[in-house]
């Protein structure tokens, strides 16, 4: 082969390799995307049945029921509600009335079967229980602040 042909073969080979790699990566990406749905979306049948997805909302108060290791609770966006079933240990920050994201599948029985439950907590934008500390601080504030004024 002449050097020029060699170079051409190199480039073509490289391009083919890149194309194959890109296809593989995109295929894998597509197969592993989890879409995020709200209870309203699910009730409106916007979400596919039996496909991995994420469901987000608030844990409805008074709906958390345990039966052995299986926990059932309702997730709501204040408009619609979806029942969730999860077997295992819930994360530390899981609480009634708090935000939750569940990853799993919607089954034909109308229950969302979660494989993973995430409860998140945010620093600035925080749930009241997390910020109880400042209550104490604020109470004494007036006495400290007055001399400074």
């Amino acid at each position: 082969m002449k050097p020029r042909h060699k170079r051409l073969a190199f480039i073509v080979g490289g391009l083919v390799a890149i194309a194959i790699a890109a296809t593989l990566v995109l295929k894998a990406l597509e197969g592993n995307l989890a879409y995020f749905f709200s209870p309203s979306d699910i009730v409106a049948n916007k979400a596919p049945v039996d496909h991995t997805m994420r469901l987000g909302g608030l844990v409805k108060k008074g709906t958390v029921k345990r039966e052995g290791l299986t926990v059932r609770f309702d997730v709501t966006d204040n408009a619609e509600t979806v029942s969730v079933s999860y077997t295992g240990i819930l994360p530390d920050l899981f609480q009634e009335g708090q935000g939750v994201v569940a990853q799993g599948r919607m089954r034909s029985d109308g229950v969302f079967h979660a494989e993973e439950v995430l409860a998140k907590h945010d620093e600035t934008y925080m749930p009241p229980e997390v910020a109880a500390a400042l209550e104490k601080a604020e109470q004494a504030n007036s006495s400290v602040a007055q001399p400074a004024l």
Partner: protein
């Protein structure tokens, strides 16, 4: 008063950084030696002022000065003193200050240890670092001042997030930042070379040890972070492909590629423009990580308090630094040249493939990390239907593996291949035995474990072959020396540190691969409901639940479970996982109990109380998981060995001697500037 001194020190640092960023580089262009000479003292002064500011913040934390907003938000008078110090970098503002402290620290280190650099080169390197410092100081002063006062002052603070009250987290961020920021040195060297238009083996020899040190710190930082996630989060997971983890992993991949490409530039003068690009890439990815973590464009469990204004600032900064660097690259790199040619089968080719595979892996991680952002952007532009997505772990796991398998195979072969022109026949002869032994091991071991899977065999083969080829390589070099009459120990110690470092680091990777393979293949996990007296048997161990008692810590209350571990009828130990409630934030926390071992960890975490006095308990048997972090240790030791190689010191000394022989330093400055400006 003290916080105001800190604030003032930061403002002073900004003006010093401006001086450092402008004068020396301008001096090299305008040929004013006095300006060029400003670089070193300015670097020292910058560090001094930033350290003063940092000291003031530490003081405010130690003294519980809750009139400082940042202290009030991240500390509490009941917080133990070591965590009060660590709380300095427990939030956005303080961790940013730590960033800047390290950046100025690196600049000072460069100023101290690069006496052999030509004054013009040193001026450019330090000047670039000064400019980066300017950006960060502007950022902290205008959007994230840690010294902001709270009026009226709080009586007590909101406390440090309990997840962060842990030894691992005390040292994890400093290590990580040392790595991130350390790449700024390699970046500055690359930019300096582009400006100067001179890029040769000497340049590579200068920037190589710096890159390696930064890489070592980043390795330790990532390892610690993963270990912390493992024992602190209570799920027994050690890598989640979370955006923030990816943000630290991407610069690591780029840095690893850079170390290898620098080897070619140093030894053979090749890959020059590619090396420069990688140096820019490694630091750019560090900055991108900062942006992703702090701007809130991606949601993550780790995300700091976010603020779009901050995000915009970092993005502009990112645009200036990375865009500017790449523009300079597009303009100047064609002059830098490509370096000498080499044969298709040579060490150079091996390292080229190494680089390609690492960059592919990097691309996979980058795509997975940014994809949700791309979808959001398309939604915002009304191109696609509204949707919120996340990229699942299986994508990362499977796609990352694809380039890793050939990479590991090449690692076994690469060090045996000669520079410029390798010899395939000789190679096969050398590696045949270890190859066969590894295959046998990879097939036999799963049989002994009682469970066969292709992935386990592949992983074991790769790890075993890599380990054997390393041992054989080091062994044969020692054998040569012994033939020459040296003792085994002097022969081992006589090996060049650069070579030894590479082999130790590669060995570390083999250990990690073995650990991941075995823990993924053979870990056992069970969530169970346990009443007092209940037992669970798993992998030869029996766990008996002896109930839960209440206990208190310095700033928390806890339920402590007692689980008796029994093996072969004998009581082995009691594991005590806790469920803690931290008083101030009333935040629940799971504290797992772990029995660490060389071949396995036993890992228990306490779930929730169930009806009838029972608790949910999570029990893991994790074989060889400790190898992951042990391997990280090897990587770090290997890196330290490599950078302590004699040749860096000898080269430095030679250079110094040459400089000293020229009597007038000023003449050298003028000379250098003249020659480099004319080139």
């Amino acid at each position: 008063m003290i916080p105001e001194i800190g604030h003032f020190a930061l403002i002073t640092a900004l003006s010093v950084a401006l001086l450092l960023g402008i004068l020396p580089i301008a001096g090299t262009v305008l040929r004013i030696p006095a300006w060029v000479a400003v670089a070193r003292p300015a670097a020292y002064a910058l560090f001094l002022f930033v350290a003063t500011a940092f000291g003031c913040l530490v003081y405010a934390f130690v003294q519980n000065d809750f009139s400082v907003l940042y202290v009030a938000l991240h500390s509490n008078s009941a917080l133990p003193i070591q965590y009060r110090v660590a709380a300095v970098w427990g939030g956005h503002e303080g961790s940013l200050l730590l960033w800047i402290l390290m950046l100025s620290g690196w600049a000072t280190a460069v100023a101290l240890f690069s006496r052999h650099l030509s004054p013009a080169m040193a001026a450019r390197v330090l000047g670039v670092m000064g400019l980066i410092c300017v950006g960060f100081l502007l950022f902290i002063l205008f959007t994230s001042n840690p010294f902001e006062r709270l009026f009226p002052a709080a009586v007590d603070g909101r406390d440090l997030n309990p997840l962060l009250q842990d030894f691992g987290l005390v040292i994890h961020p400093p290590m990580l930042y040392m790595g991130y920021v350390g790449f700024s040195v390699a970046f500055a060297f690359a930019i300096a070379a582009l400006i100067g238009g001179k890029l040769d083996a000497a340049w590579a020899r200068w920037s190589r040890p710096w890159t390696t040190v930064a890489w070592v710190f980043l390795t330790i930082g990532i390892g610690l972070g993963s270990w912390w996630a493992y024992y602190e989060l209570g799920w027994g997971g050690w890598w989640f492909w979370d955006p923030v983890e990816n943000a630290s992993f991407m610069p690591w991949l780029a840095g690893t590629a850079l170390i290898h490409s620098l080897a070619v530039t140093e030894k053979r003068g090749g890959f020059r423009s590619w090396t420069v690009l990688l140096a820019i890439l490694a630091f750019s990815l560090s900055l991108l990580g900062t942006f992703l973590v702090r701007s809130g464009v991606l949601t993550s469990v780790h995300a700091f308090a976010t603020d779009p204004e901050r995000g915009l600032f970092i993005l502009i900064f990112l645009g200036v630094v990375i865009g500017g660097a790449l523009l300079l690259y597009a303009w100047r790199a064609p002059r830098v040249g490509l370096g000498g040619g080499f044969n298709a089968f040579s060490r150079e080719t091996m390292l080229l493939i190494n680089n390609v595979l690492l960059v592919v892996a990097l691309g996979v991680v980058l795509l997975g990390t940014l994809f949700p952002l791309v979808v959001d952007a398309f939604v915002a532009l009304n191109i696609i239907e509204p949707a919120k997505i996340s990229v699942g772990e299986p994508y990362f796991n499977s796609m990352f593996l694809l380039p890793m398998i050939p990479l590991l195979l090449l690692m076994s072969i690469g060090p045996y291949v000669r520079w410029k022109q390798g010899n395939a026949g000789e190679l096969i002869k050398q590696l045949r035995t270890s190859f066969i032994i590894s295959i046998v091991l990879a097939v036999a071991l799963p049989f002994l474990m009682g469970e066969i899977s292709l992935m386990v065999s592949v992983g074991l083969f790769l790890a075993a072959w890599l380990m054997l080829s390393i041992l054989q390589g080091v062994g044969s070099r020692i054998a040569q020396e012994i033939k020459r009459g040296k003792s085994a120990i002097t022969a081992l110690l006589g090996l060049p540190n650069g070579y030894l470092g590479m082999q130790v680091a590669h060995f570390g990777l083999a250990v990690i691969v073995a650990g991941i393979t075995l823990v993924k293949g053979y870990e056992v996990e069970q969530d169970v409901r346990m009443e007092v007296g209940d037992t669970l048997t798993m992998s030869g161990y029996t766990f008996r639940f002896d109930g839960v008692m209440s206990t208190t810590g310095p700033n928390y209350r806890a339920n402590r479970g007692m689980i008796q571990v029994i093996k072969d009828g004998k009581d082995l130990m009691v594991l005590e996982p806790e469920k803690r409630i931290y008083n101030v934030q009333s935040m629940p926390m799971t504290e797992a109990a772990i029995d660490y071992g060389f071949t396995r960890d036993l890992y228990i975490s306490l779930g929730d109380p169930l009806s009838g006095g029972a608790w949910s308990v999570r029990v893991y048997y994790k074989p060889f998981i400790g190898w992951l972090w042990g391997g990280c240790g090897f990587l770090a030791i290997g890196g330290f060995l490599a950078m302590s190689d004699r040749r860096y010191r000898i080269a430095a000394r030679k250079q110094q001697a040459r400089m000293a022989s020229i009597a007038d330093g000023r003449a050298v400055v003028d000379n250098n500037i003249a020659t480099e400006a004319s080139s």
